[in-house]
């Protein structure tokens, strides 16, 4: 079983988000970057499948050299080797082209991703990769098992319910909770990660189709209006007559 897991490099979930003075770029100052939390579900499920069936888990990131600490972390968690496509990934379509190019060279049995990258919230790279490669993309999946050597069974969320899907390998799937229980790297993992291969490759030519031109933050709330708990019912009246949401 050859599994490819794609990870993006994102601000820690507790980060305060700020932009440069001209609002043209994200300000990385003081921001801690982590593996995209959804991708950790994909990574641990891949490692579990490898442990059960044998095979290899390769992690892939499209990013500049500053993403390597998180790639090493994925190796420490249990991936076997890693590829970094050396580029500043400012467009989902560009990223999808890079992932597809790597996949075409390597015949993976499955390509696992997260449901969404929590920085740009695009939720599109997985479907784009599936479409470029002409293989199914099961999005977003919360359960993934192998039926036999050529078939996987997944459960995916649909609005208002779930679907059970069986697909032939190879396929793309994006992970969400509770596909697996993300692992924390142990000491041995951290030691061995240092010597695992991390191959840096140059991007294939691909055009970007979206250009980020400006950023803004939501308007601040006007402050909270407190209601006496003894007269809690008053809240319902305010929601109807003042806020007009009931």
């Amino acid at each position: 079983m050859k599994i490819l897991v794609c990870i993006s490099n994102v601000p820690d979930t507790t980060s305060k988000i700020n932009f440069t003075a001209d609002n043209k770029a994200f300000d990385k100052n003081g921001v801690q970057f982590v593996i995209n939390p959804w991708d950790e579900y994909a990574l641990t499920r891949a490692i579990e499948l490898k442990e059960a069936k044998g095979g290899t888990v390769t992690v892939l990131n499209v990013g500049e050299a500053d993403t390597e600490p998180n790639i090493r972390k994925a190796l420490a968690i249990g991936a076997d080797d890693a590829i970094r496509v050396n580029a500043n990934p400012t467009d989902a379509f560009f990223v999808a082209q890079q992932i597809a190019a790597i996949a075409k060279e390597n015949n993976y049995d499955m390509i696992l991703m997260g449901k969404e990258s929590i920085d740009y919230n695009g939720s599109q790279v997985h479907n784009m990769v599936g479409e470029i490669l002409g293989i199914p993309a099961v999005v977003p999946a919360f359960k993934l098992d192998l039926v036999d050597d050529s078939t996987a069974r997944l459960e995916r969320e649909v609005e208002g319910g779930k679907e059970v899907v069986e697909v032939k390998l190879p396929f793309v799937a994006s992970a969400q909770q509770p596909m697996s229980e993300p692992r924390i790297p142990n000491m041995r993992g951290i030691m061995t990660a240092r010597t695992k291969p991390l191959n840096v490759v140059e991007p294939v030519g691909a055009e970007a189709k979206a250009e980020y031109v400006n950023y803004s933050k939501p308007e601040k709330k006007g402050g909270v209006k407190m209601i006496d708990p003894e007269n809690a019912g008053e809240l319902i009246t305010l929601l109807r007559n003042e806020a007009k949401v009931l």
Binding site: V138, M226, P229
Partner: protein, 325 residues
């Protein structure tokens, strides 16, 4: 040229989020001096299609192939690509649902188009540009994105666009057939299990009542459910609550759960951790009920009650029941 809007059905009607997308699409059409066409798939009542005229849709292309009743991405993509070609559409509009965003991404590859998901504004089309604003960093910011390809694909964030009602206007309905082959259904679901709910679906809800660890245990969830029922709301929860199996995972909102943007979000016994806020901070009005006056959630709230949920919520249920509908 026409702006093409994909509308999703639910129990024969058009989903509210798709009515929002239709309203959005017809306003883009007006901006560009084009017409607005919708494409519908699977089981939808004819009257529901005709009524899309109220949202400014002139024509609906309808593929009634019953194999399309459940979502199969490849087949849906084929139908919509055919409609886009027939209408020479340069702008395609979806709701930012699992289905809408999935097809949007596939069509972006197939039609060589630019895609923006999670879009919150009409495009700025000054000087031939096409710039939309979209939510980024999990509700903590917005970004303006220029879509540079010839074909533009937009997935509109739920509840960020009002449904327009041009009373009495009707759309014409035309049959569409994409000559689908069995191979297009290769990844069709084996089984679809819908939640048993007599209530409201969380992703479509206008009012959400959500409970956290402060409720102490699943046996107390009748408080959340009764308040939700009285308000016609959907129920949701924080992550630890679903991790402990007090509630099902599909109710978990936040950074690693689903994102909701209802008109009203009522949080009971939830502290307001930053990861929770990421999933709810674009709600129009937030109410927080917490016994701790220092709970961080109050900073993000519009209305607050410091008090014990077990005393406060019954009073709210009573007041909600007394509202005339």
């Amino acid at each position: 040229m026409s702006v093409l809007v994909f509308v999703e059905g639910l129990n024969g009607e058009i989903k509210k989020s798709s009515l929002e997308a239709a309203s959005y699409g017809s306003q883009v059409a007006q901006q560009l001096g084009a017409t607005a066409t919708a494409v519908a798939i699977g089981e939808v009542h004819e009257e529901a299609l005709t009524k899309l005229g109220e949202q400014g849709i002139e024509k609906v292309l309808y593929d009634e192939d019953s194999r399309l009743n459940s979502f199969v991405a490849d087949a849906y993509v084929k139908v919509i690509a055919k409609a886009a070609q027939q209408e020479s559409s340069k702008v395609l509009v979806f709701s930012n649902s699992n289905i809408g965003a999935s097809i949007g991404a596939k069509l972006a590859v197939r039609l060589n188009g630019s895609l923006a998901t999670n879009v919150t504004t009409l495009p700025n089309t000054d000087g031939g540009s096409f710039v939309v604003t979209r939510g980024v960093f999990s509700g903590k910011a917005f970004a303006d994105v220029a879509l540079t390809a010839d074909v533009k694909i937009i997935a509109v964030k739920k509840n960020s666009f009002d449904v327009t009602h041009n009373a009495g206007a009707t759309a014409t309905v035309e049959k569409l057939s994409a000559d689908l082959a069995d191979a297009d259904f290769a990844a069709a679901p084996k089984e679809t299990v819908m939640q048993e709910t007599d209530g409201v679906l969380l992703p479509e809800a206008e009012v959400v009542v959500s409970g956290g660890r402060g409720l102490k245990g699943p046996e107390n969830w009748h408080l959340i459910e009764d308040l939700a029922n009285a308000l016609g709301a959907a129920t949701a929860c924080s992550k630890p609550v679903s991790d402990m199996d007090w509630r099902p995972h599909h109710e978990h909102v936040g950074q690693t759960g689903i994102t909701v943007s209802p008109n009203l979000y009522i949080a009971v016994g939830i502290s307001g951790a930053i990861q929770h806020l990421a999933g709810v901070n674009s709600s129009k009005v937030i109410v927080v009920i917490n016994k701790d006056p220092e709970a961080p959630f109050f900073k993000a709230a519009d209305y607050g009650i410091v008090g014990d949920a077990f005393e406060v919520v019954p009073k709210l249920i009573e007041a909600a029941k007394a509202l005339d509908k």
